[in-house]
Symmetry: C2
Subunit: 146 residues, 2 copies
DNA sequence: TATAGTTGATATTTATAAATATCAACTATA
DNA sequence: TATAGTTGATATTTATAAATATCAACTATA
């Protein structure tokens, strides 16, 4: 009953398995990672592992690129609009010196964090994991404007 | 004193003048318009006219495409995240049937409006005119999350 | 310990978005 | 009323982002 039902965030797929599931090459996957579109789990040996949630996230990135014709830099710019400050509740002072808060080209998880985010693991941070789909970002903006 | 200082929103430049100022072709300008990136003023004869504000707006679009490498569809997706509903203060009911509120691919001003926006002229609407620069959109998201 | 898979880095190819060109019909302005 | 500019529509070119290929060194696993 639970050999099939693996937890959504359990890193179980190797890069080649992930590539097969997504029908793309391992090179493409590494390129997306280098661009900061996702953060895979890494073993001590530096080998990447992907969870089901990772696969879904990357599928969403694929759709944005191939169907919606949004360039990789466009996706990064959209990710940079996620109101992370509202989710992690960082201080005024912290925001002043935060590249993520002040930038508009890169997702927050691509920055070296000094503040409240330093202790956080971006991969399990709500900013990264919950709002991975483009449609979720607009929903988030809607929810904070209530 | 005021022959030089023309109002920012006065439509004074023909398409060829605008193209010269922006160092692009009139074809490219018409393409951007067809994509819904901007709305020029139109004379009764259907001829376009551009204001200084229009030129600035299009310069910002150019930078996004050429410097930031964001595709046209990427820019459209970013524009679609502008919380117009929070600016025009439309009702719950109106939001339910609004393509702009529910979509995530196109700027609100590219939709046929039925609601509160029907009476509004998008070109002079704050949603369109005030948040034309990409950096302003993040600022807007910040301001509504206070 | 041998084989299959992984790492990052760089170089090359390809797919296509963005830009340009061309057209005949229409409009502005001198 | 003649010329220069505009309109939209379609066809073509080009610039480059995205994808792929190749490499030697390293790691996993049977």
């Amino acid at each position: 009953m639970n050999e099939i039902n693996v937890a959504q965030n359990e890193p179980i797929f190797t890069i080649s398995a992930a590539a097969q599931l997504l029908k793309i090459s391992v090179h493409t996957l590494r390129m997306y990672e280098r661009e900061g579109l996702f953060i895979p789990y890494k073993k001590k040996s530096n080998q990447r592992l992907f969870s089901k949630a990772d696969i879904e996230r990357i599928q969403c990135i694929r759709n944005a690129i191939n169907e919606s014709k949004i360039s990789i830099n466009g996706i990064k710019a959209i990710y940079s609009l996620i109101p992370c400050w509202d989710i992690v509740k960082c201080s005024e002072e912290e925001r002043k010196n935060c590249g993520a808060f002040n930038g508009e080209h890169n997702p927050c998880w691509t920055y070296d964090h000094k503040n409240v985010c330093k202790e956080r693991d971006c991969r399990s941070c709500e900013v990264y994991s919950k709002y991975s789909e483009c449609c979720m970002i607009k929903e988030l903006i809607k929810s904070i404007s209530r």
